[in-house]
Symmetry: C2
Subunit: 352 residues, 2 copies
DNA sequence: CTGAAAGCGCTAACAG
DNA sequence: CTGTTAGCGCTTTCAG
């Protein structure tokens, strides 16, 4: 296995020149650069990462702390990881994957052992015990998710308020006058106070702004029974004050927002059991990644969780943190979701 | 940031003693060990990974090459990655994540830069261009998936033949006399010749052993149209030779095996469109991870792809490769899947 | 059972 | 524009 010394010898230059050719940190004459490049190719030289990290005090690795274990994830995680990994490679960095179940010690280990130059912390909760630790580290940390106390850290997340608004407005546009929001499971309600509240509040606000009724059914556990009950309650609520079943020809029925992606299959099943057909009798809009939404049966209208966009943004901010200019600590970056109507929304009032 | 030198000074010993205390590669008197440990705690010392790798020629990192980009994965990837990551941590290793789109150069980079001590290559295809490269590396490589030419490498995979058999036998047990297998999408048929063939052949063999008819409908693209057509063909086939619709009270109808997890929602939709109810008119058994199967509507009976078991096995074999005893190159390790009946299989002939 | 010392392969001042 | 040199922090012989 060749070292930079071998390259230097073969090219007839000094070892440092080889280093500078690779890093571009110093002007090199075209002639020398050519010779060195040729030697590198010929020997298929690769710089030893450990040595490089030791001498240069940069590992060219970013640590990624992923929320495994707890993950009953409806599909957004993988694209996220993929995007971070490819993004890192584009900047000549690698990704070290650490699972969140290591807790706060993952952070001190990554920092203490000099395993990486920066850390991305995924699925940050509202009051996340890792935040205070993270903000005390010397390596920059990027949060995915917005905690209550960002503590000067940079955060990137989906704009959940916009998502709640979008879902409700989309249903109102299709003529729904009664809306119900199936909320998050109890665990999430306790853990993720941040986005849970932001989504719900924005949904309610949008409804009231549009002058339509909106019931928030929450929490809803991810069990068949709980979702069935919640769907029942939502449908009952909608029927109240409406008098009869089917008298208004223009009434598109209930507009149902499913805030937690994981509940979608259960909700669809619950509706089917009652003989209620989404896209005809009611509309269903769920919070889901596009790919997952398109793969349910029937494909469910969705407010995209855009993990791809969020992670692209995360990569961008990450390498700003690693860049030359001091990026002025802190800052919250929100990515706006999109609403896509699929088979579960009714056509709407104005013909369409 | 303290170094092992600082620890040594504080403990009143030499640097090498600190090293030996940490590695246990040399007997240390209890007294000295205590002092050193105390110093380590006090300074919250962490060994510098780069320096350790450089001097010790072990990185304590395993490279994981994941099949992103192409992945329309029905859920098995994440648990796999998670299991590898936790398993590695249990052996005091970290995981460096690399995406497969880097191709064969990912391997040479991991090896050349000394980024890891071993490599796990996921979703290996039958004739995978990375195999010859992998088998030429100095770092041990573990394949997940069985290529045609393992080239002396260790492979771990699900036993797809057993899976095909299991699916068919499960349906036969429930009284089905006519079975159809919805095969893999064209891409997979061309790419993954290995397990595609193994699954199909075993299914057909099991059917013929049981004396029941079995039609293999393949390839089936993952589009609504293609799956709809395939389901139609499967149902027609079953109706032939049966004469009428519903005369045999004991005839549990068609037994449908969906070999490719990604087609499941489409297949369920296609059945629903025809008014055919799984679990009553036909049975459906799909090849899916348990979690995914439980989350479809209705929950579909499945032959588990057991990515968790496969990855546990992979970790086990991986650290055998990294262990002290030379593990005698090569070897194929197959993990046996399980069949779980959910709501999409009929009750069966004998009451049940 | 413990210490001293020689690198591992690279980068980054210093010198020209 | 290029070469020389001193480490980065650890492991591991080689001596006790």
């Amino acid at each position: 296995m060749p070292t930079s010394k071998d390259v230097a010898r073969l090219a007839g230059v000094s070892q440092s020149t080889v280093s500078y050719v690779m890093s571009g940190k110093r002007p090199i004459s075209e002639e020398v650069r050519q010779r060195v490049q040729a030697a590198i190719e010929e020997l298929t030289y690769h710089p030893n990462a450990g040595a490089r990290a030791l001498a240069g005090r940069r590992t060219h690795v970013v640590g990624l702390v992923v929320p495994f274990g707890a993950s009953a994830d409806p599909g957004g995680l993988l694209p996220f990881i993929e995007t971070i990994a490819s993004g890192a490679r584009e900047h000549d960095h690698d990704v070290l994957l650490v699972t969140a179940d290591e807790g706060t010690s993952a952070l001190t280990r990554l920092e203490g052992r000099r395993l990486c130059d920066a850390i991305v912390l995924m699925e940050v909760e509202a009051r996340d015990e890792r935040i205070p630790v993270a903000s005390g580290l010397r390596v920059p940390v990027l949060l995915v998710g917005v905690p209550e106390e960002p503590d000067g850290l940079v955060c990137v997340d989906l704009d959940f308020a916009a998502a709640g608004r979008l879902a409700v407005e989309g249903l109102v546009e299709r003529g729904h006058r009664r809306i119900a929001v199936l909320g998050y499971p109890p665990e999430a309600v306790e853990r993720d106070i941040g986005y849970v509240r932001r989504f719900g509040d924005a949904a309610l606000a949008a409804a009231s702004a549009a002058g339509v009724e909106c019931a928030l059914v929450s929490p809803v556990a991810h069990t068949a029974a709980a979702v069935r009950a919640a769907v029942g309650r939502a449908l009952e609520t909608a029927r109240d004050g409406d008098g009869a079943d089917d008298d208004g020809l223009d009434d598109p029925g209930l507009g149902l927002v499913v805030a937690s992606g994981g509940a979608v299959p259960l909700a669809l099943t619950a509706l089917a059991e009652r003989g209620v057909v989404p896209g005809r009798d009611v509309s269903v809009v769920a919070m889901l990644p596009d790919a997952t939404a398109a793969a349910t049966s029937p494909p469910v209208s969705n407010v995209s969780t855009e993990s791809r966009d969020v992670s692209r943004r995360a990569v961008q901010e990450l390498f700003r943190l690693l860049g030359d200019d001091p990026p002025t600590g802190g800052g919250v970056h929100l990515v706006t979701p999109r609403l896509t109507h699929r088979r579960t929304t009714v056509a709407g009032p104005a013909g369409a």
